[in-house]
Amino acid sequence: MGLFDIFRRDRKKNTANVAKERLQILIAHEHSRAGAPDYFPEMRDEIMDVIKKYVAVDDKGLNVKLEKGDDYDVLELNITLPERR
């Protein structure tokens, strides 16, 4: 490392750390989707349709997650209902 590298290093962002953080988040997200059954997206849409019939929720308000346990999986539905007036 030369003398001028000291100045260069401070000015430049550590992009390797940015890469690491982005990868960790992305891969965790992709893993949570992996292993879900093929019917999963369709089921999600149908559940969404049923809920919409009764309550005005938008797509962002519904979060469906499948968590893998050792001997059982957990299907988690998280629905954000519209604010009460």
Partner: protein, 268 residues
């Protein structure tokens, strides 16, 4: 007892063929009867990297289709004893590979006494890549210290763990990570993901780190597996990789910044 080893990565251009050629040559040079198969049907390149492109008469698909015997299609390396290359077809597409066909070729290699069968996977997650990994006992995941390569490696690990024959039978494929084009200088500058972070993200045991080296291009220019360039850092790193794979306990090299001498510092 023969072992089928797939060299795979998901992403293209990270060094699968370079690694397959070097690793197969390394195993053979250690006295193990080794066959290396090019699964990239339609875009064969292993023949070129191994320098046998002018000796290809029959290929993998010919053998599967019964148009040639395995013995006719296998090319014996002239530099290393025990090393044989099975080239891919250049004119067919990947649908020419069938599970039954691939299995019969692998079984015949096993009966012929091949100790190691190295499967050089094509990029992607399509049929060719699937066929290359389906029968594997062990997998070598080749990754560059770069975001898209790491992500694709993670994808291919998922496929290995769910779609391979081993997975179907409830067995586990032994996984090994090989990081190629590594530059300790750039890691130190904060420009490149460190090997510790890659191992942490992928959670696969590290087999080898191959330093970025001009000798890889020179070797491919000349059609010589880079492991035969024993003076080059990449060649030595592949030699270490082979020895480690065979169970030798060898420390990793080329992970730290090369110390520059006084004159090098002065003149660069």
């Amino acid at each position: 007892m023969s072992k089928v080893i797939v060299v795979t990565s998901g992403k293209g251009g990270v060094g699968k063929t370079t690694t397959s050629a070097a690793f197969a040559a390394g195993l053979a040079s250690k006295g193990h009867r080794t066959a290396v198969i090019d699964f990239d049907v339609g875009l064969r390149n292993l023949d070129l990297i191994m320098g046998v492109e002018r000796r290809v008469v029959y290929d993998f698909v010919n053998v599967i289709n019964g148009e040639a015997t395995l013995r006719q299609a296998l090319i014996k390396d002239k530099r290393v004893d025990n090393l044989f290359i099975l080239p891919a077809s250049q004119t067919r597409d990947k649908d020419a590979l069938t599970k039954e066909g691939v299995e019969s070729v692998i079984n015949e290699l096993k009966t012929d006494g091949f100790e190691f069968i190295v499967c050089d996977s094509p990029a992607g997650i399509e049929k060719g890549a699937f066929m290359a990994l389906y029968f594997a006992d062990e997998a070598i995941i080749v990754t560059n210290p770069e975001v898209s390569s790491v992500r694709d490696s993670d994808r291919i690990l998922g496929i290995l763990q769910s779609k391979s024959r081993a997975a179907e039978n409830g067995d586990v494929i032994k996984e090994h990570l090989v990081i190629t084009r590594y530059s300790p200088e750039r890691v130190d500058m904060g420009d490149m993901i460190s090997l510790e972070d890659i191992v942490d993200i992928l959670s696969v045991p590290l087999l080898a780190v191959i330093p970025e080296s001009g000798s890889v291009l020179q070797a491919s220019n000349s059609g010589v597996p880079v492991i035969m360039d024993i003076k080059s850092r990449a060649g030595q790193a592949y030699m270490d990789m082979t020895a480690r794979f065979l169970g030798e306990d060898i420390p990793h090299r080329f992970l730290d910044i090369e110390k520059k001498g006084f004159f090098k510092k002065l003149f660069g």
